[in-house]
């Protein structure tokens, strides 16, 4: 019986704290996908993803770029007639795929999230310019030039300071993080 735990239930278990298992209430009406501003860049629409989760198409869901293309704008969430927090479900899928290292090849999203978290754990603050340049290798040549031009322009305009900031009580902050994620020796 245990091995038959459906993908639907697995995702519900990721969302148990805030939402229980709302995916089951989906009417497949497509309000989410009709609303989504990023839908044309997704392999499957959000509605289709919900349908696929319910019908246990785990491999196909995980291999799609849909959940990593979600912009977290929550427009689907507020409109959903079945009360499903679809944006939150996308986060659950992202976590699932990160923890299991199962996501579509060539996506920037997982690396970006990794880098973002690492940066915060290391400094307590986020700093966009560093992030952007970190992912430059993943951009195509054209994008790269454009991004570099924009960044240089911003530095020249005085918008970006050249050095990132750090919080003062960084050591304590990091020990705080380690109480949540039990990795690394406690210093």
């Amino acid at each position: 019986m245990t091995a038959e735990l459906s993908f639907n239930q697995e995702i519900a278990n990721m969302m148990y704290a805030t939402h229980g298992n709302p995916i089951s209430h989906c009417l497949q009406c497509g309000t989410c996908s009709g609303t989504c501003p990023a839908v044309e860049f997704m392999d499957y629409t959000p509605r289709a993803i919900i349908g696929m989760i319910r019908e246990n198409f785990k491999d196909e869901v995980l291999a799609s770029n849909t959940y990593w293309s979600c912009a977290s704008c929550y427009h689907c969430t507020v409109r959903c007639p079945a009360g499903i927090d679809i944006a939150d479900m996308m986060y659950a899928l992202k976590r699932y795929s990160m923890w299991k290292s199962r996501f579509k090849e060539g996506l920037i999203g997982p690396d970006f999230s990794e880098g973002f978290v690492k940066m915060i754990v290391n400094s307590g603050k986020s700093f966009e310019p560093i992030l952007a340049t970190t992912y430059l290798p993943k951009f195509s040549a054209g994008d790269l030039v454009q991004e570099a031009l924009t960044a240089t322009g911003l530095v020249l305009k005085g918008k970006i300071p050249l050095l990132p900031k750090r919080i003062k009580r960084l050591k304590k902050f990091q020990r705080m993080v380690k109480r949540i994620i039990p990795l690394g020796e406690l210093s």
Binding site: C29, G30, S33
Partner: protein, 470 residues
């Protein structure tokens, strides 16, 4: 309706409101406020000269949904029964400024009476049927559909007037400018229905209504019609066949709940159009469909005052606000209050045939009761032992059917068995233990428990059983 108006055994009170209901089945006393009509109905012939001559025009927000005007003296719609008009005092020149009286001057039978006052009457009746209908969902509550903001977005009621030969456009389906015939029309189903953000139930009539609209648009304008639906629900006789006909007529059926309607064009084809953004769930793609006109099939909802009215008649509303029937399957016409029946959309969303059927059912139930001359009540009733009653009146306010009355002289409460429905709240609440329920006395309950246990031990869980105790 005309027959009803002229039947000798039917007294029709329009422009009237029930303010109080006392008594019980066979013996209700209903107090009614007959609002001043300013027309002597005994003299009025309904000739219509008054509203022809009245110089004051008022936007008709009710029957014409704001799309046309009526006079300050008017009948709500041409076929209304009875035929007498009413003067709309807040909009009448005489009541506002003290002059005019055009209607009075022209009335051939001197039926106008500006001095009429509201009149409270009370009637004694044996049974009551409530058929107060529904309210339309306010489409403005869904701002992303643009109703009230985007000109050519219509509600179903507005479109209904647009199609009507006696309506503001004489039955021509045109845009708000009054002349342009739309080339494409989008009809949006489930507006405010099947949606936890608004009403979570299905409004039952919108699918067929939307199909009818699509058919009328085809027939009168030849326009392309897009119907946007979640599920197509055509469960009654002949309805599926109508759906088939629409499919043959070439209506586009897009399966998907409309996300938003916008007047902003992204591409040249969208210029000057309303753009319906939706996922076509059968294709799995977001589509933007430019149309000239949008019709929103707004759902049904309980009357805004259903709760207060229900309270007056001793009946309860479900969580959605519809009146609760005695039993959803076995007794969908009666209510928990003996002698009060419901018919039509007060009970829940339903279409015309179903409302007519229920109305006939309710009438038959009342006739049956009249015929019987006496009524059989459910045996489960509460009664008060006068000797034990301490007269503290704790039970008095608890009864939802107002079945408990108090004798000031004897300082004891008494239960009217005709009103009591055996709910037992009072039995549990009485600190003196003076109230007992028939069949539920302390002595009887252990036996009943044993009976249930025995029944359970034999039960194979097949369902469909009814266990009757007592």
């Amino acid at each position: 309706m005309v027959q009803v108006g002229s039947h000798p055994n039917i007294t029709l009170l329009t422009w009237s409101e029930v303010t109080k209901v006392d008594g019980y089945v066979g013996n209700f006393v209903v107090t009614i406020n007959k609002k001043a009509r300013y027309i002597k109905t005994e003299d009025c012939t309904g000739c219509g000269i008054c509203w022809e001559k009245c110089p004051w025009k008022v936007v008709d927000e009710v029957f014409e949904v704001g799309m046309a005007k009526r006079k300050a003296v008017y009948v709500p719609f041409p076929q209304s029964v009875p035929k007498y008009p009413v003067i709309d005092a807040p909009n009448c020149a005489y009541f506002l400024k003290g002059t005019c009286k055009a209607c009075e001057k022209f009335c051939p039978t001197n039926a106008i009476d500006f001095n009429q006052k509201d009149e409270a009457i009370s009637v004694q009746v044996g049974n009551i049927i409530l058929a107060t209908g529904f309210d339309l969902f306010d489409a403005k509550r869904i701002p992303q559909y643009g109703y009230g903001r985007l000109e050519n977005v219509y509600t179903n009621l507005e479109f209904e007037r647009l199609c009507n030969a006696a309506g503001p456009t004489g039955g021509n389906i045109v845009l708000r400018d009054g002349k342009t015939v739309p080339k494409t029309v989008g009809i949006v189903h489930c507006v405010g229905s099947r949606d936890q953000n608004y009403n979570s139930y299905c409004s039952a009539i919108c699918c067929m209504q939307s199909l009818k609209f699509a058919h009328l648009v085809h027939e009168r304008t030849g326009a392309e019609v897009y119907n946007f639906y979640i599920d197509m629900r055509t469960p009654s006789k002949g309805y599926e066949e109508f759906y088939q006909r629409l499919l043959e007529e070439g209506t586009h059926f897009v399966r998907g709940k409309v996300a938003e309607i916008s007047d902003f064009a992204r591409v040249p084809e969208e210029e000057g159009k309303l753009v319906i953004q939706v996922e076509d769930t059968l294709i799995g793609k977001q589509r933007r469909i430019p149309v000239d006109m949008v019709v929103l099939s707004a759902g049904l909802q309980p009357r805004h005052d259903a709760k207060e009215v229900g309270k007056m008649f001793g009946i309860a509303c479900s969580s959605d606000g519809w009146y609760i029937e005695r039993h959803p399957k076995l007794d969908p016409v009666a209510t928990m209050t003996e002698g009060v029946f419901i018919a039509g959309a007060v009970q829940g969303p339903k279409d015309i045939p179903a409302s007519v059927a229920q109305g006939a059912g309710a009438a038959a139930r009342v006739l049956g009761k009249i015929q019987q001359k006496e009524i059989a009540l459910e045996p489960v009733r509460a009664s008060i032992n006068e000797a034990q009653c301490s007269g503290r009146r704790i039970c008095n306010g608890l009864c939802p059917f107002s079945a408990i009355l108090f004798h000031e002289d004897k300082m004891v409460s008494e239960i009217n068995p005709a009103l009591c429905q055996g709910r037992g709240t009072c039995v549990a609440a009485c600190p003196a233990g003076a109230i007992s329920g028939t069949c539920f006395s302390n002595e009887q309950i252990p036996f009943a428990d044993r009976g249930i246990a025995a029944a359970q031990s034999r039960c194979k869980g097949g369902g469909g059983c009814v266990v009757v105790i007592g």
